[in-house]
Symmetry: C2
Subunit: 183 residues, 2 copies
C-alpha cells in the first residue's frame, strides 16, 4: 500500500528529515510512504509552485491512501492545503486516515487565541461568526470524511510536548493502514 | 448546471439569507445554486454533525461544479472545511471555481496577524515554520487546483468594505460558470 503523507510538516525547518522519519515508519510496517515535493522542487523553475502542485497531485494519484496531519496550523483548525488534499483523496475513493496532536475540541482551540461567547443559542467569535460546537476537534467535514471514508481521527489523550515532531499518533495511523492493507 | 456554494458563509449570523442571495444570483444566470445544509439540519437529531456531512456530500455529488469562497477565515488562509470541499470536488472531476474577497498575497495576510521574517533564504513565522512565498494569495494546492481543474481564483483589486457580504467576485464566478455551461 502506498500512502500520501500530507501535512504542514512540509513547512517545518527540518521538513525533509521529518518526511524521512515518516517514510521509515511506513517501511517498518511493510508500507510505502510518499512525502509531498514542496522541498524537492527546483525553486528556479519557471513556475515552482505549479511544479509542486503537479508533482503532489501525481503522487496522490499513485497512492492508495492518505495520512493527513490535521494538527492546528496558524489558527484553530487544520492547514487548508492538507484539508484540500484530504478532500481530493476522499473524492478519488482512496482510504483516508488522519491524526491531530492537539486533542482539544474546536471551540476550546479557538478560545485559546480569540474571544468566543454564547449568543442566541449559538457560540460566536468576535466577528459574530458561528463557532462549530459539536464537540469535534475540527470542522465537521474533515472529521466525518475520516469516519466515512477511512478511519476516525486519531489523537493523543494529551497534546505531546512537541506538537510537530511527536509521531506517536502518526504511527498509530500507519498501524491501521497496515491492518487494512492485510485485510 | 448545478453549483455547490461552498464557504464559511454558513457561519455568518445571516447565513441563510446569504445563501438565498447566492442562489438567486445563480438563477439570474440560468444556473442552480445549492447551499450547504449546516443551518437546515435538525440540531436535535441523534448526530447532527454527521447528518450535515452526509447531506453536504450528497449535495456535492449532485452538483456539476463548485464555487468556493476562499476569503481568509480565522487566520491567513481559507476555511479548512471549504478547502476540503474544493478538494473533494476536484477529486470527483467537477468544475472548480473560487473567489477571495481579500486579494493580499499569503505572506502579507500572515504579516497582519503574526510575525514573519526572513531566515536562511526562506520566510518563516514565529514558530520557525516556512511561510509560502510564491506571490500567491493562499496555499498553492488551492490556487493551482482552481487553475488546473476550473478557472483561476477571482479576486477584487481591493478588498471590499464588507468581506463577508460583498458578492461581486462571487457573481463573476457565476458568470464564468454560465459561460462554461453554454460551451
Amino acid at each position: 500500500m502506498k500512502i500520501y503523507l500530507a501535512g504542514p510538516d512540509v513547512f517545518l525547518p527540518d521538513a525533509i528529515e521529518v518526511g524521512r522519519r515518516k517514510a521509515d515508519i511506513c517501511t517498518q510496517y511493510g508500507l510505502t510512504g510518499l512525502y509531498p515535493l514542496d522541498n524537492a522542487v527546483d525553486r528556479s523553475a519557471a513556475d515552482p509552485s505549479l511544479a509542486i502542485f503537479r508533482g503532489n497531485e501525481a503522487m496522490m494519484e499513485a497512492c492508495d491512501a492518505i495520512i493527513a496531519n490535521l494538527t492546528p496550523f496558524r489558527g484553530p483548525g487544520a492547514d487548508p492545503g492538507t484539508a484540500y488534499e484530504l478532500g481530493y483523496m476522499a473524492g478519488r475513493g482512496k482510504f483516508c486516515l488522519g491524526y491531530s496532536n492537539d486533542p482539544a475540541v474546536y471551540a476550546d482551540r479557538l478560545r485559546r487565541i480569540a474571544d468566543v461567547k454564547p449568543h442566541a443559542e449559538r457560540l460566536v467569535d468576535a466577528e459574530g461568526l458561528t463557532v462549530e460546537d459539536f464537540g469535534l476537534p475540527d470542522n465537521l467535514m474533515l472529521i466525518h470524511a475520516l469516519n466515512l471514508h477511512g478511519c476516525a481521527l486519531l489523537m493523543p489523550t494529551q497534546a505531546p510536548g512537541d506538537l510537530w515532531h511527536d509521531l506517536t499518533a502518526f504511527e498509530a495511523c500507519v498501524r491501521l493502514a497496515a491492518e487494512r492493507s492485510r485485510s
